[in-house]
């Protein structure tokens, strides 16, 4: 180990020590706030007690022992920790763009607990996010639902234990560009994309039935193990929830048809800018939708979009969430949810469901998070004003009962991983445009030459 590496380790150790002391797990009593439960109305002057990482009770005039940290929330708004059903923060790699089907790769293998973007998300009240594979492939990698336990060093510690497995699918321009235009192989069109799914599903079905026969003793020799087919078979058996990057109405309908043929019914369409055009079909299928508040026009397939998408989907009874897909936007999802009141006049509770219980449902974790209910995880965000107001400033964010962000004790530099040889951290001119990480890992070189 050379000197600089030792320094590095030392710096990191000191920082982690500081951070871990400051983030001591403790029971918390939040007093006298306006408590927005999401599932049980809004309660004035109400307390929330978190014990052993879970919500122990919600009510007026709660008291607790001396060991409990008391947070005065008078004049403030207390809501469940915000959930982002589509992000790429806290991971080292986004795309395994080498084949149209890469179901075997796992985002869970590339979690980066040092990413400061996790802290910045906490400073926007976000406690859980869906760390997704990118959209280069029709069937991309498996995603990971993470809790924003910033300060923990072990990547495993960020994974939300018990959260269902999920996988990224992608339709339209991205897989067409990467594989068809980029490599001259299918899919180059939306016709090709349909057949990529049908082929992958058919092969996985054969694979699963071959194993079934072998396990039932009908065959003497075991089939060759195939980790990719294994993963696709897990989709068909309903063990993995599909989260599908999609934009156009026709491709959304196509995938629902394919899924129907294979008896798969758990799907959340991601981005789904033209979801509003097929809202009745989405509702009838039982598909959910995770959308941007107002992003559009960044490519041709989102040119015929409307910021009223979330409202139309909600009013058609499609379980809808608003996501970030961005290290910038994840910091103000409460504001993004507020835009659904500008575009479509959703009620306060409808708007807040877009960033709490609805994304929780889409990730299959609504029994644990997404509302303030006794027994649920102690994930709470406290705001200075109503979270749908532009003037709301997040004050404190609690994950499993641990205060991970506190505006009253918020050091400027929150990095956990510091290069001691760097005099001053680099300045990034274009970080503001940290949009659409869905294609990261595919086009860096292109970007480099463009600028």
């Amino acid at each position: 180990m050379n000197n600089s590496m030792m320094n590095h380790k030392l710096y990191t150790a000191i920082l982690l020590l500081l951070v871990s002391q400051w983030m001591m797990a403790q029971d918390v009593l939040i007093k006298n706030g306006t408590v927005i439960t999401i599932t049980d109305g809004v309660k004035e002057n109400t307390d929330v007690l978190i014990q052993n990482g879970r919500i122990k009770s919600i009510g007026e005039g709660l008291s607790a022992g001396d060991e409990v940290r008391v947070v005065d929330a008078e004049g403030m708004y207390v809501m469940p920790g915000i959930i982002d059903a589509h992000s790429h923060i806290g991971i080292d790699v986004v795309n395994e763009s080498t084949a149209p089907v890469t179901a075997e790769v796992r985002v869970g293998d590339v979690i980066n607990p040092y990413a400061v973007s996790i802290y910045r998300a906490l400073a926007g009240g976000v406690t859980t996010s869906h760390a997704m594979h990118g959209s280069a492939n029709a069937i991309g990698g498996q995603c990971e639902t993470i809790k924003h336990r910033y300060g923990e060093e072990d990547p495993e510690a960020l994974k939300m234990e018990g959260a269902p497995r999920t996988i990224k699918f992608a339709l339209g321009e991205n897989p067409m560009r990467v594989h068809g235009e980029g490599q001259g192989i299918q899919p180059k069109t939306r016709m090709g994309i349909e057949q990529v799914f049908r082929k992958a599903f058919a092969e996985a079905q054969e694979y699963a039935s071959a194993w079934k026969d072998y396990n039932a003793g009908k065959k003497q020799v075991a089939p060759a193990y195939d980790v990719r087919k294994e993963a696709v078979a897990d989709i068909l058996s309903g063990e993995i929830i599909i989260h599908c990057h999609s934009y156009r109405a026709d491709e959304i309908l196509m995938l629902m048809d394919v899924l129907e043929d294979y008896g798969v019914n758990q799907i959340c369409f991601q981005h789904v800018n033209e979801g509003f055009k097929v809202a009745p079909e989405l509702a009838a299928f039982g598909a959910s939708a995770s959308v941007f508040a107002d992003w559009w026009a960044y490519k041709f397939e989102v040119y015929y979009s409307t910021a009223y998408n979330a409202a139309i989907l909600t009013k058609n009874n499609v379980v809808t969430s608003i996501n970030s897909d961005s290290g910038e936007l994840i910091r103000h999802l409460y504001h993004e949810a507020g835009k659904s009141q500008k575009y479509g006049d959703l009620t306060d509770n409808e708007a807040l469901k877009l960033i709490t219980i609805n994304p929780a449902k889409q990730l299959g974790i609504d029994d644990r998070v997404g509302s303030l209910e006794v027994g649920k995880d102690g994930d709470v965000a406290i705001f200075s004003a109503h979270p749908l107001s532009i003037y709301a400033i997040p004050q404190m964010t609690i994950v499993d009962g641990t205060v991970r962000f506190d505006i009253q004790a918020d050091p400027i530099d929150m990095r956990l991983d510091i290069d001691p040889e760097e005099e001053m951290p680099a300045f990034y001119e274009l970080d503001a445009h940290d949009h659409h990480r869905c294609m990261e890992g595919v086009f860096e070189e292109l970007f480099m030459h463009q600028h």
Binding site: K299, Y303, K342, I390, D410, A426, F427, M448
Partner: protein, 433 residues
């Protein structure tokens, strides 16, 4: 009577056909009396009263203004009237679809091309223009991008069939000041390489500026002798007004050290400058205030430039600059979501700037910086009628806009986004064939 009814039916048919073809209704001209609203003038406080729009201007403001013959009265009781917002830096109308390069008109080839006119390439029918203005943004600076001198920016109003009809009276040449930051997460140049490149760019800039000044001197001498300069030199011609200080140079600069270098360069060369970008302005706010230069900051909804920065550095930057005494204008730098200008301003307001100053930054301050405060930026008699009527603070997402006027024309509150909402909210047929 029958004829009138058939006219009405025909009119309804035409209107409904237009709606299904997703065409936006026409703007209307005329006189409009906004009766009894709360007028947030920005220039002279907030008053309750009437405002008359006529001949494209704010004709009068007062109490109980009599309804002129032919004027349309609009009841604004319980509502608020605001001056239209001005975005200090966009690509509105210069980019239609992000990933389709042939729809992009803001980035021309060449490093010294100040004669590239953003106004030339503004598409008056860009789909994003109505999408923007229905949120109360009535003017925007359209800015070219690219090399060191990528072209000349123009201020436009968001109504008109031709760029000339939209032109709002300000032009400024753009300078991308040599930057020593990394361009993005994909930039793998070493610190040394970045430094070398910036030094080279600085030398090129100094050489270019010397040539510009020399050209201006020769040109002035020639024109005092009533002679024209021989040869075709459009890029130098485009810099003549910048060289003599009658046209602003919009100096794009973000990193602390670069801002300091830019301030020195501007002082040394006596440039009439406006700083743009200015992400790390808060680190050198006193220096900028001392130099007495206005800044166009944004987007406010940005992540900080450095991993070590406080999470809210971009939110607090405009407020800190304002408090240091710098005149602050805001920008979105967007083409499709310029409509988020009020929310950028709202975040600036919440994170230290205050609502009043933030509102001024996107209205009157912008007009002042662009030298058009005689026509835009506040509710004052004689100014161009760029204004909107809302049911509250336009920075709040809950607030709705009820009426919109740009260049004195009543603008329909329609955009592709509203038309798609109207068509698809209750889709017919629904599930059945």
């Amino acid at each position: 009577m029958k004829i009138i009814i058939s006219y009405i039916i025909a009119a309804i048919l035409i209107t409904s056909q237009l709606a299904s073809a997703q065409q936006i209704a026409k703007t209307e001209t005329g006189s409009f009396l906004l009766r009894g609203g709360t007028l947030v003038t920005v220039s002279n406080g907030t008053i309750t009263g009437d405002l008359l729009v006529a001949d494209g201007k704010i004709k009068s403001i007062g109490e109980s203004i009599p309804l002129p013959a032919g004027a349309i009265e609009i009841d604004c009781a319980g509502k608020y009237v605001y001056p239209g917002m001005i975005d200090g830096g966009t690509k509105l109308g210069l980019q239609e679809v992000g990933s389709v390069s042939l729809t992009s008109d803001h980035n021309e080839i060449g490093d010294f091309i100040p004669h590239m006119e953003a106004l030339t390439a503004v598409n008056p029918n860009a789909v994003s223009i109505p999408v923007t203005r229905v949120n109360g943004i009535t003017s925007a600076l359209v800015v070219p991008s690219g090399g060191s001198f990528p072209g000349t920016a123009s201020l436009i109003n968001l109504v008109g069939y031709t760029p000339d009809q939209m032109y709002a009276g300000f032009k400024g040449a753009v300078l991308n000041f040599p930057a020593t930051g990394k361009r993005g997460w994909w930039d793998r140049r070493s610190a040394e390489d970045i430094k070398k490149e910036a030094e080279k760019a600085m030398k090129t800039l100094d050489d270019t500026w010397k040539k510009v000044k020399l050209y201006a001197k020769i040109n002035a001498a020639a024109s005092s002798d009533k002679k024209a300069l021989a040869g075709y030199n459009p890029s130098m011609d485009a810099m003549l007004q910048v060289a003599n200080g009658t046209r602003h140079l919009l100096v794009e600069v973000n990193k602390e050290a670069d801002i300091k270098a830019a301030l020195k360069w501007i002082e040394k060369n006596e440039v009439n400058a406006i700083l743009t970008g200015v992400s790390e302005g808060y680190r050198v706010a006193a220096d900028i205030a001392k130099a007495d230069l206005p800044v166009i900051v944004g987007p406010v909804l940005s992540i900080p430039g450095r991993q070590s920065d406080k999470y809210d550095a971009a939110y607090t930057n405009p407020g800190l600059l304002h408090k240091a005494g710098v005149k602050v204008v805001l920008r979105t730098s967007s083409y499709e979501n310029v409509r988020n200008l009020p929310y950028n301003a709202g975040f600036a307001a919440a994170y230290g700037m205050g609502t009043e100053a933030a509102l001024r930054s996107v209205t009157l301050s912008a007009a002042e910086v662009f030298g058009v405060a005689g026509q835009l930026g506040s509710l004052d008699e004689g100014k161009i009628a760029n204004l909107f009527v809302s049911d509250g603070d336009p920075f709040e997402t809950k607030t709705d806009i009820y009426h919109l006027f740009i260049s004195g024309r009543k603008v329909p509150l329609e955009s592709r986004h509203t038309l798609l909402y109207d068509e698809f909210l209750n889709r017919d047929p629904g599930l059945k064939k």
